[in-house]
């Protein structure tokens, strides 16, 4: 990082948080690649702060039923990590991980759910490990929940922790890549106000050190 870049980051709290999540996403991508035998990677798509009323529209989560794995970032400080899958590719991932054909049942089997939940666990832990190293604090993610529900209702619940304290919400969105398929999957990170302060303080300190 050049001096001018680092001083720019120091002045912009949103850029500091983006820098942290970019770093954490690289670690999550490496973990995902290992977990899927090098097939799937991910990268940070964007970090945005916007009025609550615009958040859902911005994320493009309509009224569809989605398959999701949700973890809270820390029991005390809150925050959420939401892993959203489109049905077809989510089931393909589960089948690949289980080394079997895609199940043709309408509902997800326990094994398929378990494979996706473990994927959420691996990604969540990779994110939290990277973040913990930077902030020098041990945030402990919750066990992952497998949820099939309206995407907007789950995101609404995740945004609630920020909405309690501020009219604007911060959302980080991550995109997945597969060499042969378009994956409509996302990781959405929703930190609480308390976590944002913690992240910002840690990244300010990092920027000061690099200057």
């Amino acid at each position: 990082m050049t001096t001018s870049e680092s001083s720019h980051v120091t002045e912009n709290p949103l850029a500091r948080i983006e820098q942290l999540f970019r770093l954490a996403t690289q670690e999550a991508s490496a973990a995902m690649s290992r977990w899927t035998g090098g097939l799937i990677t991910l990268e940070l798509e964007n970090v945005k702060e916007l009025p609550l009323e615009q958040a859902m529209e911005e994320l493009g989560i309509g009224d569809d039923l989605l398959t999701m794995v949700v973890l809270t970032m820390d029991d005390e400080l809150g925050g959420s990590i939401i892993l959203c899958f489109d049905e077809e590719n989510g089931r393909k991932l589960a089948a690949t991980l289980l080394r079997r054909e895609v199940e043709n049942q309408s509902s997800w089997t326990e094994l398929e759910q378990s494979a996706l939940t473990e994927t959420g666990n691996i990604l969540g832990c990779a994110y939290m490990n990277a973040i913990n190293r930077v902030i020098s604090k041990e945030l402990v993610p919750s066990p992952p929940y497998f949820i099939q529900d309206y995407g907007a209702s789950v995101l609404e619940q995740a945004l609630m922790e920020q909405a309690l304290y501020a009219p604007e919400v911060l959302i980080c969105k991550t995109r997945f890549f597969h060499p042969e398929r378009k994956l409509n999957w996302h990781v959405i990170l929703v930190p609480t106000q308390q976590l944002r302060q913690l992240f910002d303080q840690a990244m300010s300190h990092c920027s000061e050190v690099t200057q």
Partner: protein
């Protein structure tokens, strides 16, 4: 040949913190987690309103009245009054307020929203004619302004009409 004058129903999405009005045959719809939808319907004029309430109390926070359970009811009644409708002519319904996941700070937000809305309605002399609240799953709710029916869809369950 007779000319068709029937209007096609328009579907209006009511996002977080928003309040929308619509007339027959239009539909008002929202996706709810811990948020609560306050629905008011004027049967005589087939006029409906839906507010997507996010939090119980505004305190010193800014934002639209529909965001807050303690501000939304007077705001809705004011809008109906502008349209010449008095509170006693309205049917009120409540839905939403699930406790889905999260830390202890947010797990009770839905219940708090419902309680505050009931109190706010009571202050205005209104009692909901129907409610479908709580639970642990999200809801897709749709008000049919032609009939006043509120259809509630929960993933994996049959739709309910209240």
């Amino acid at each position: 040949m007779t000319a068709t004058t029937e209007k096609t129903a328009k579907k209006i999405n009511v996002g977080m913190g928003q309040l929308h009005f619509a007339r027959s045959p239009d539909l008002l719809t929202a996706i709810l987690g811990s948020c609560v939808a306050v629905v008011m319907y004027w049967p005589k004029g087939k006029l409906g309103a839906m507010a997507h309430v996010v939090l119980a109390r505004a305190g010193n926070k800014m934002g639209p009245a529909a965001n807050y359970a303690d501000r939304v009811v007077p705001a809705m009644l004011r809008e109906f009054k502008i349209r010449g409708v008095s509170p006693e002519e309205l049917e009120v319904k409540l839905t939403g307020g699930a406790s889905m996941f999260g830390s202890s700070r947010v797990i009770h937000v839905g219940q708090d929203n419902i309680r505050t809305l009931r109190e706010a309605l009571q202050r205005e002399g209104l009692t909901p004619v129907a409610e479908h609240v709580g639970g642990k799953k999200g809801r897709r709710v749709t008000l049919n302004c032609a009939t006043g029916d509120l259809t509630i869809c929960i993933a994996g369950e049959d739709p309910i009409v209240i």
